[in-house]
């Protein structure tokens, strides 16, 4: 039953995942950790860490959640449930979007979504850096990474490596 529940949840989440994985992370964490208790906050952060460090779209974090909750079937279903409904939408909307290139509504939608996505990504970052009680060491790593990313143009993988080293020294 967990598998059905997980699949249906991801299909719904897919439809509101404006901004991709970063903006749905707070909701995903809320559901699988707080509401369902399938995963602990620390496990969630580690799933996220592995998902970020591995090559590929970070939507695969959903697959890791599925894997943790229901094994390989969970991982596959999570991927297709998380991408399916939004893919169907993309299929239909791509042509419409082109046709309404100059419509004021298209511009209004673009302007409306931008600040929401920013607020949600910020939430995702905050929640991931605070898996339990606030810990200054995790916040320090997060703040240093954010600053480094804003001030330089190196591949983000180097920051993840730096975070790993800081983690080994500080934690």
């Amino acid at each position: 039953m967990t598998l059905v529940e997980l699949t249906l949840y991801f299909m719904l989440l897919s439809l509101i995942s404006v901004g991709g994985m970063p903006s749905v992370l707070p909701e995903l964490q809320r559901y699988v950790v707080d509401v369902k208790g399938w995963i602990t906050p620390e496990e969630f952060m580690q799933i996220f860490a592995v998902g970020q460090a591995a090559p590929g779209p970070n939507i695969l974090i959903a697959s890791l959640v599925g894997w943790k909750v229901a094994g390989l079937a969970g991982a596959l279903l999570a991927l297709f449930a998380m991408c399916g409904p939004s893919a169907v939408l993309a299929w239909w909307v791509a042509d419409l979007w082109e046709r309404f290139r100059d419509s004021p509504w298209r511009k209004a939608i673009q302007r409306a979504i931008a600040p929401i996505v920013v607020g949600l990504i910020l939430s995702g970052g905050f929640i991931l850096a605070t898996p339990g009680a606030p810990d200054w060491r995790l916040w320090l790593i997060a703040a240093a990474t954010a600053a480094g990313m804003l001030l330089s143009k190196v591949n983000p993988l180097w920051f993840l490596a730096g975070g790993g080293i800081l983690g080994a020294t500080l934690l």
Partner: protein
């Protein structure tokens, strides 16, 4: 530049192109998508790439996943969309599971490894915060945009209110603001 681009001529070529995007996408998929589609294989122009990615960012779903659907459909219809999507996700799916399985095996007994991965997670969180600041800088000159960013953060990040409530409400408010020229 725009004259010498040509779309893939076969499903096989489409699949291999997206496979090579997924396979190499350490540290983020988008730069590799650009490299493969615009620079190496010359399927599309720079402007076309930017336009399509722009659209995909405003749709729900992973934006590179959506892009695979949109381009696949444009060139080969339904089979193109499926082939591009599977090409993109095939290898990363296997790798992320393998990496996690490997990690789970070692982490149970290894304190240091757990600390390293937690540090990586915190750095990943920092990348999100950096991304939010980068995107936010562009729009935050308008007070309404700043207020919306803050409201979404307070609701979803601090208040832990469900996104199924936060998104429809904030989108409604934001659309009104946008129509009035406040955003």
């Amino acid at each position: 530049m725009s004259t010498d681009v040509a779309p893939p001529t076969s499903l096989r070529e489409l699949f291999l192109g997206f496979l090579s995007i997924g396979a190499r996408s350490f540290g983020g998929v988008m730069p590799w998508a650009h490299r493969v589609m615009v620079e190496e294989r010359r399927w599309i122009t720079e402007a076309d790439f930017a336009e399509t990615i722009g659209l995909c960012q405003f749709l729900p779903g992973p934006n590179i996943g959506n892009a695979s659907i949109v381009f696949g459909k444009r060139w080969f219809g339904l089979s193109g969309a499926l082939v591009a999507f599977l090409g993109l996700f095939g290898l990363p799916f296997i790798w992320v599971l393998a990496l996690f399985a490997l990690y789970a095996d070692f982490a149970a007994t290894n304190e240091t490894l757990r600390a390293v991965v937690t540090g990586v997670g915190a750095a990943g969180a920092g990348l999100f915060i950096g991304t939010a600041v980068k995107l936010g800088r562009v729009i935050a000159r308008k007070p309404a945009a700043l207020a919306l960013i803050a409201a979404c953060f307070l609701a979803a990040g601090i208040g832990r209110i469900s996104l199924f409530i936060v998104l429809p409400v904030s989108l409604g408010v934001a659309l009104v603001c946008a129509r009035r020229g406040w955003l």
